[in-house]
């Protein structure tokens, strides 16, 4: 069993959804229920593969890559097909594999206008392959390909099944991301050409992420490192999204169909933060140290700015979208500290935000379906008309504002905590200021979420909806799609160790470079200087 997983596990889990998509292409479009079943089967098969991987994973060695596949791919540029799973990838892989089947369930009778479940579900499966591949790839070119595979399905999802302003939103999403990707690719190429084997002094000429992490930028001049990091910074930062590259997000979320928003919030945004944790920071720790105060600055600006943006919203879905800017700010703050505590918090924050905000978008979709509007001023009294829906909204809002005991807290507080004491070489005073600003952000978060709750769930139902038979409580499909997420919010909140235990060894390994360089950038420049001298 383990042999099978070692050889095929990661490849299968990545491509099973794509195979499902291929099968669906062969089935005629009018067979709608067949399409739903195939999509369900494919995403469940991937999830089952995921369960096997989770079971076979050696948690004692969560710091090292497991189930590795390593095959020749594009020999000309020395790019290889390398997949691997470690403690950093594992929670995100699990999140992806869980969210997609839930989205398929939710889509069962919620295919948005203009219909065509075949195309819709095919796109969803392609998305899944792209997302899973990104979290598993251990070769920069392979990573880049998967990263880009995600782009088109989401573009079409927004552009075809989106709301009124879908065209603008989808193009904005596409261009922003592509712009970032181009700079990211540029940085990958630079790494390829400039990386040097520290032992022999020879050029590495490899895209192998394992090797690049091991050399950790040795031999590259600090100036060049800083520029390369800048390219990745923008590439990943757009995806996160970090202030000021975030403006595509509210539009994309507002216009996207419900499951599009869910996948976007739950998984897509994490590709950016994952990139920082997996690629930018470990491969260029010295540059990360230089950039850390700036990343931290943009992160805390994002926290306050996103929250203020939320307070200005009149549309529930747009409010939730803006809240992502604030929440991802906490994740980036954790990463910017370059400490094990901070990055653990960041990964927890990614998973928690994925579950919680994904859930919030599900709720927004269901509210829209019942009330045909998301204008906050028109809603109200949901607790009276659809009490369970109202309570779930209240519960998830509490999780979103970082209530201890629920999942959101463990991404937020440890990030604030870690900012008190960032890695050596990073200005402590600066980060302590960030810490206080971030903590103030939690007040604003409570403000906009409670305000939303009060307006939508409390009070008496407004006259226009008072006797509306369309306003029903949570349906069976909704329960099926939501129950796992709701349970996860509680379980991870009560037992955060479930995630921290897995990520910690990998995180400690990944930022070893940073810790070694703690002496810090001087070491790197010294090495670079020596290389130049030679």
């Amino acid at each position: 069993m383990i042999d099978f997983l070692d050889a095929w596990g990661l490849t299968l889990v990545t491509f099973v959804p794509a195979v499902g998509a291929l099968v669906m292409m062969a089935v005629p479009g009018h067979a709608e229920s067949a399409h739903k079943r195939i999509a369900m089967a494919a995403s469940l098969a991937a999830a089952a593969m995921g369960v096997l991987l989770l079971a076979g994973f050696d948690y004692g060695a969560a710091g090292s890559l497991q189930f590795q596949a390593d095959l020749g791919w594009i020999d000309v540029i020395n790019s290889r097909y390398i997949l691997g799973l470690d403690g950093i990838s594992l929670p995100l892989l699990a999140l992806t594999l869980a969210v997609v089947p839930l989205c398929v369930i939710y889509s069962w009778n919620h295919i948005p206008e203009p219909g065509n479940p075949k195309a819709f579900l095919i796109l969803m499966l392609i998305l899944e392959t792209g997302m899973v591949g990104t979290f598993l790839a251990q070769d920069l070119i392979l990573f880049f390909v998967f990263f880009e595979v995600v782009l088109l399905p989401m573009f079409f999802m927004i552009g075809v099944w989106g709301g009124e302003n879908r065209r603008y939103a989808s193009i904005k999403f596409f261009l922003f991301t592509l712009f970032g990707s181009a700079l990211m690719l540029l940085s990958f190429l630079a790494l390829f050409f400039l990386s040097v084997d520290p032992a022999t002094g020879e050029a590495l000429r490899t895209f192998d992420m394992r090797a690049l992490t091991d050399t950790a930028g040795a031999g590259i001049m600090l100036g060049a490192q800083v520029w390369i990091f800048a390219g990745m910074f923008i590439g990943f930062g757009v995806k996160v999204p970090m202030f000021p590259f975030h403006t595509w997000l509210p539009d994309a979320h507002t216009e996207a169909p419900t499951v599009g928003s869910v996948i976007l919030a739950a998984v897509l945004l994490k590709l950016g933060t994952y990139g920082f944790v997996r690629i930018a920071v470990p491969m260029l720790p010295a540059a990360a140290e230089v950039w850390a105060p700036w990343i931290g600055l943009l992160a805390v600006i994002g926290i306050i700015y996103g929250a203020l943006g939320c307070l200005a919203q009149t549309d529930m879905k747009r409010l939730i979208a803006f809240s992502s800017v604030a929440h991802m700010g906490f994740v980036m703050l954790g990463i910017a500290t370059l400490t094990d505590f901070g990055i653990n918090a960041a990964i927890f924050g990614m998973v928690a935000h994925g579950i919680i905000t994904g859930m919030l978008f599900f709720l927004a979709g269901s509210v829209k379906e019942r009330y045909h509007t998301l204008e906050i001023s028109r809603l109200g009294g949901m607790l009276a008309q659809a009490p369970r829906l109202g309570w779930i909204l209240g519960f998830v809002s509490m999780a979103s504002l970082g209530l201890p005991g629920l999942a959101g807290f463990w991404g937020e507080f440890p990030a604030i905590l870690s900012a008190y004491n960032p890695a050596n070489g990073v200005s402590t005073a600066t980060f302590r200021v960030y810490m206080v600003i971030a903590a103030v952000g939690t007040v604003l978060a409570a403000g906009y979420l409670l305000w939303l709750l009060q307006r939508t769930t409390m009070g008496k139902p407004p006259a226009e909806f008072a006797d509306d038979p369309a306003i029903v409580d949570v349906t069976r499909t909704e329960w099926l799609a939501w129950a796992p997420l709701l349970a996860a919010i509680v379980v991870f909140g009560v037992a955060p160790g479930l995630i921290f235990e897995v990520t910690d060894p990998a995180v400690v390994g990944a930022i070893e470079g940073c810790l070694q360089l703690a002496g810090g950038c001087d070491g790197a420049t010294g090495a670079a200087g020596a290389a130049m001298g030679g």
Partner: protein, 718 residues
């Protein structure tokens, strides 16, 4: 908490191995677990139970109460006559970060055992009371579910053995109070009050999060309370860090325990059902702040330099709150709001006591106050039940005849609150005043410094307290009935808890008779302090004041003076005028506020609650939600997005220019004129850009980036 069952083990560094500890102490985790389970059970099938779930809550909290009492008995046995007893500490692995493991667990010592008893006792009585009080409510089941969770959260909090767990418990208490204050969410005033409570507490939580972070690092990366405290006591932690940490944590205490200037949520929280008010104000929620200071006392002891000053921030906040909060109680007509401000004021006493180093006095006052304040709140609920409202001037008056039981118990609790001997409040308040160390007259000094200012404010507060409570008694129970209903005594499920609490208001003081008090056997003196106050490596070496007869006499006279002044106004003047005019007056039409300009201005300031609500709701919250949020969003739409859209437009314009001038103008016309037909289709697709064909945008951007990439690599590798 369920995790604890899985792998409970003795902490290796724990002060005492669990096998030695009494079963009830070692398994104290059951006490919060039971109400937590009943919360889940009530939600799951409470509606199908014969008493709609309330029986589940009652049974669970009742069992917790018994376990808590058993734990208290066990603690006393465990402690014995020894000078000190080791705390019982059990923990299990909770999470790991940076290769370091952090545990969750329980810390059972005198302090936590005392809190367990208070919380479960008050909660149990509130449960009994609620079965009558909220009977017929549409969300009866739901109310009991959250009552259970509220109790569980508070119990979880007081048993926490580490900082992280304390944060969890702290916030869970807050969220439960949010739900319960907003129980009748149909009315906007109630949901506003709930929001205000939660948001004000969030403001304080900034201090909590930052303060705990500082503490964690200052104590060498530890969350464990015993470790943090012991390291501070041993002098291993930087004083500067502790100054910062204690100041931050004080902000959290100010919001949670309703201290000036973050007290404004507390009177509004009266919007919740009365049993909730009793629970919030007596045993849970607001005393969480006091408990936190007590539990992390070394932080404040060192950070606030309690041992070596005559004024510090903690003592000052408490003193200001006790006096100014008490004054606010004068102008309220809503009986529950008077009691709310009274709570603010009494919490001020506790904070002040902690600030002057009178740790045991603070805890003892917490203990006695829980009983008489719960009695007063539940009594006010009983009154309003009968009178049909909470407004003393409109709905009440002369109720002592219709409601003799409520009247008697309310009166007893009032006397206890006034701090008159020999009821509970007298002993605990007097201990606080003595603890200030500011009384030099006829012996009885000592303590931790000469906090004379605190003593004076405490004495003034005693007069104020006695005065406003006299007013409440008159307006509620004397004069003639001014409402429109037919007042009647409440049923046994309301009256019995009142008697139980009134009984405690009488006898609770006996637990800590002052040392050297000749009327009480010496072996039974200061038992509370003996069993509750730790003498251990995790507790600072506080000094103890000696009680003073002269101070006790003076403070009693001061309180009587306050009561007498109010008595003269209400029971003599107002009453006489009422009789003369044949109606039930609530104040003199030509009283001091009518005659004196200064008094009128003062009354006005009090009635407007020092304008704090205007400042917070109008200016701060309004400013953030209005201008600040709008400005941020305007920036988003008009500045950042303008740049983005502008960049997009100029790329299109540039493309068109290149196409028109270069491609069509130069290359096309001059060079490949003959191949015009080919470019037609290209023109089509390029024009498509404006209409939003993404591929072209993408191609242009991507090509540009690729060129840049090439240039970059060449430049960098040179």
């Amino acid at each position: 908490m369920g995790l604890l069952i899985l792998a409970a083990e003795a902490a290796p560094t724990g002060p005492m191995s669990v096998s030695d500890a009494n079963w009830f102490l070692a398994n104290a985790w059951l006490i919060p677990l039971l109400p937590a389970l009943s919360f889940a059970a009530i939600l799951a099938f409470g509606k199908r139970m014969p008493r709609r779930g309330s029986e589940l809550g009652l049974v669970a909290v009742g069992a917790s109460f018994l376990l808590a009492v058993a734990a208290a008995v066990a603690w006393v046995a465990h402690h014995g006559a020894h000078e000190t007893a080791p705390a019982v500490h059990r923990s299990v692995s909770w999470l790991v970060s940076g290769g370091v493991r952090y545990d969750a667990g329980i810390l059972v010592d005198g302090l936590s055992v005392m809190m367990l008893v208070v919380v479960t006792a008050v909660s149990l009585l509130v449960h009994v009371y609620s079965t009558d009080y909220v009977a017929g409510d549409a969300r009866y089941t739901h109310f009991f579910a959250f009552l259970s969770l509220f109790t569980a959260a508070m119990l979880f909090f007081v048993l926490s053995d580490n900082l992280l767990q304390m944060i969890v418990g702290w916030e869970l208490v807050g969220v439960c109070s949010f739900v319960l204050i907003g129980h009748w969410w149909e009315a906007k005033a109630n949901s506003d009050a709930a929001l205000k409570a939660f948001l004000t507490n969030r403001v304080g939580d900034v201090g909590l999060l930052v303060g705990m972070s500082i503490l964690f690092f200052a104590a060498g990366g530890a969350f464990d309370t015993l470790t943090v405290n012991s390291r501070i006591v041993a002098g291993e932690v930087s004083h500067t860090a502790l100054v910062a940490a204690s100041a931050c944590l004080l902000a959290a205490v100010m919001s949670k325990s309703g201290q000036f200037v973050l007290h404004t949520w507390l009177p509004d929280a009266m919007a919740g059902p009365t049993p909730v008010s009793a629970l919030i104000h007596a045993a849970t929620m607001v005393v969480a702040g006091i408990f936190m200071v007590a539990r992390l006392y070394p932080v404040f002891w060192d950070g606030m330099a309690i041992a070596s000053s005559s004024v510090n921030l903690l003592a000052l906040v408490g003193a200001v709150t006790l006096l100014f909060g008490g004054l606010l109680a004068f102008t309220q007509n809503d009986i529950k709001k008077v009691l709310a401000y009274s709570t603010v004021s009494q919490l001020g006493y506790m904070v002040m006591a902690l600030g002057v180093g009178a740790w045991t006095a603070a805890m003892f006052h917490l203990f006695t106050h829980a009983f008489f304040k719960a009695c007063l709140f539940l009594g006010s609920g009983s009154v309003s039940h009968a009178a049909g409202g909470f407004d003393m001037k409109k709905n009440m008056g002369g109720l002592r005849r219709a409601m003799p039981h409520t009247y008697r118990t309310f009166l007893v609790a009032t006397v206890a609150l006034m701090g008159l001997p020999p009821l509970a409040g007298f002993w605990s308040k007097d201990e606080i005043l003595a603890g200030t160390g500011g009384w030099g007259l006829l012996g009885g000094t000592g303590g931790n410094g000469a906090y004379t200012a605190m003593l004076l404010m405490g004495l003034a507060g005693a007069a104020v307290t006695a005065a406003y409570m006299t007013r409440v008694i008159y307006l509620t129970f004397f004069g003639r009935y001014r409402g429109e209903g037919h007042p009647h005594e409440s049923g046994p499920r309301i009256v019995v808890p009142l008697y139980a609490l009134a009984a405690m208001a009488v006898v609770a003081g006996l637990f800590n008779m002052p040392a050297g008090f000749q009327l009480w056997p010496e072996a039974a003196q200061e038992r509370f302090g003996h069993y509750v106050e730790p003498v251990a490596a995790y507790f600072p070496p506080i000094g103890h004041a000696t009680p003073s007869w002269s101070l006790a006499v003076v403070s009693t006279l001061v309180a009587l003076g306050g009561a007498a002044a109010a008595y003269r106004y209400y029971f003599v003047k107002v009453r006489a005028r009422s009789r003369a005019e044949g109606q039930s007056l609530t104040e003199l039409p030509d009283g001091p506020t009518a005659a004196n300009k200064l008094a009128r201005a003062g009354h006005r300031v009090l009635a407007d609650k020092y304008y704090f609500d205007h400042l917070y709701t109008g200016i701060v919250a309004g400013g953030v939600k209005g201008p600040a949020a709008k400005a941020a969003y305007w920036t988003n739409q008009k500045v950042i997005d303008a740049v983005v859209d502008g960049a997009g437009r100029s790329a299109v314009a540039a493309g068109r220019a290149v196409y028109d001038r270069l491609d069509q103008g130069v290359i096309d016309n001059v060079i490949i004129d003959g191949a015009g037909r080919v470019s037609d289709s290209a023109g089509e697709s390029l024009r498509g850009m404006q209409t939003g064909k993404v591929q072209q945008y993408a191609a242009i951007l991507f090509a540009a980036a690729a060129v840049l990439a090439g240039v970059f690599i060449v430049v960098v590798s040179l």
